[in-house]
């Protein structure tokens, strides 16, 4: 039983941490973008991200209300 539950638990932890990490990363990038909009491409490059990947991430966050809320709240924080 424990053998089954442990991987499930770990998977849950990774999944939750994954979405949170994504949002945190997105917030960090978004703040940089807002600070220096003229260097948007360069900023994404510094985060090893392409424009397409950034758009995909934005779609993913927008699609999930919890992530979108976290993103919005993160941007409002200074």
């Amino acid at each position: 039983m424990i053998r089954v539950l442990v991987p499930v638990f770990l998977a849950l932890v990774v999944a939750c941490g994954g979405s949170g990490g994504k949002v945190d990363q997105a917030v960090a990038i978004a703040k940089e973008l807002r600070a220096k909009p003229d260097e948007a491409e360069k900023i994404l490059g510094a985060h090893q991200m392409t424009t397409e990947q950034w758009e995909t991430l934005m779609y993913e966050i927008a699609d999930d209300p919890a992530m979108a809320e976290q993103f919005e709240a993160g941007l409002q924080k200074k």
Binding site: M58, A62, P65
Partner: protein, 260 residues
């Protein structure tokens, strides 16, 4: 005769490719506009997408509809910035006219039809204007916490007081039920007086004299039919509006005291 037929045939052949090019021109135009965008613009436009999705949710559009709209946009490979504009327009239209049924399906259909950019925004506005479910309807369509569309649209004093300056044309004595609220800028705030009335120990039955009597300047003793003011004690507002119409603020007091 043969010459004429040949000429017509030749003209037809020449015109066919032109017609074929004309049809997708609208779609191409918006795609070209997308192409013209610099990477910086695309990146910054995408940044707004989660925020606009949240705004749409807060405006009162159901989660399923938001998701469906996003899925449609993503499926059509719409740039995230364009999707953000789309959602922004939808949020504005929802605040103005109330949510529409099957927003996601509507967006999907319009995207399938090749609408993009301003054309799509205009279509969304039109759809909401035509089929929006009014502002502030209390059927669970509006935002639950009283935020969003209904309140955002309220013009002037929300409780229909005498100072509203609304003419009789805007609001007849026939104001009935929930429909009487939305279009005139009356939203969930209508419930303010209800709560007040409840606190004052007024029964919902008070609606009778307040709702129907006041507009015609009749006192509470008049046996006016209660009308369709609604069982939730919307009377206060009806009364207010009626007073505003007749410009007889003194009558406002009569029904209220009678109701107590």
């Amino acid at each position: 005769m043969r010459t004429m037929i040949l000429h017509v045939f030749a003209i037809g052949l020449a015109a066919a490719p032109l017609a074929a090019h004309a049809a997708p021109a609208a779609g191409e135009a918006s795609e070209r506009a997308e192409d013209r965008r610099t990477p910086n613009e695309r990146i910054l436009g995408a940044l707004a997408l989660p925020l606009k999705a949240q705004a749409l949710r807060k405006a009162g559009v159901g989660e399923g509809e938001v998701k469906a709209g996003l899925t449609a946009a993503k499926g059509k490979k719409l740039a995230a910035g364009d999707a953000a504009s789309l959602l922004d327009e939808a949020a504005k239209a929802t605040r103005d006219h109330g949510p529409v049924d099957n927003f996601g399906a509507f967006v999907q259909a319009k995207l399938d039809a090749g609408l993009r950019g301003r054309d799509l925004a205009a279509a969304i506005r039109e759809e909401h204007a035509a089929r929006g479910k009014g502002k502030g309807k209390s059927e669970g369509k509006g935002p639950p916490e009283g935020k969003g569309p209904a309140e955002a649209k309220i013009d002037g004093p929300p409780h229909g007081g005498p100072g509203e300056g609304k003419g009789p044309g805007e609001r007849g004595p026939d104001d009935k039920g929930p429909d009487a609220r939305g279009p005139e800028g009356k939203g969930p705030d209508d419930k303010g007086p209800q709560g007040k009335e409840a606190a004052e120990g007024k029964a919902p039955d008070d609606k009778g004299p307040n709702a129907a009597g006041a507009p015609e300047g009749k006192g509470p003793g008049d046996k006016e039919p209660p009308g369709k003011a609604g069982p939730e004690g919307k009377a206060a507002d009806e009364k207010g509006a009626a007073n505003a119409k007749n410009g007889k603020p003194n009558e406002k007091a009569k029904p209220e005291t009678a109701g107590k």
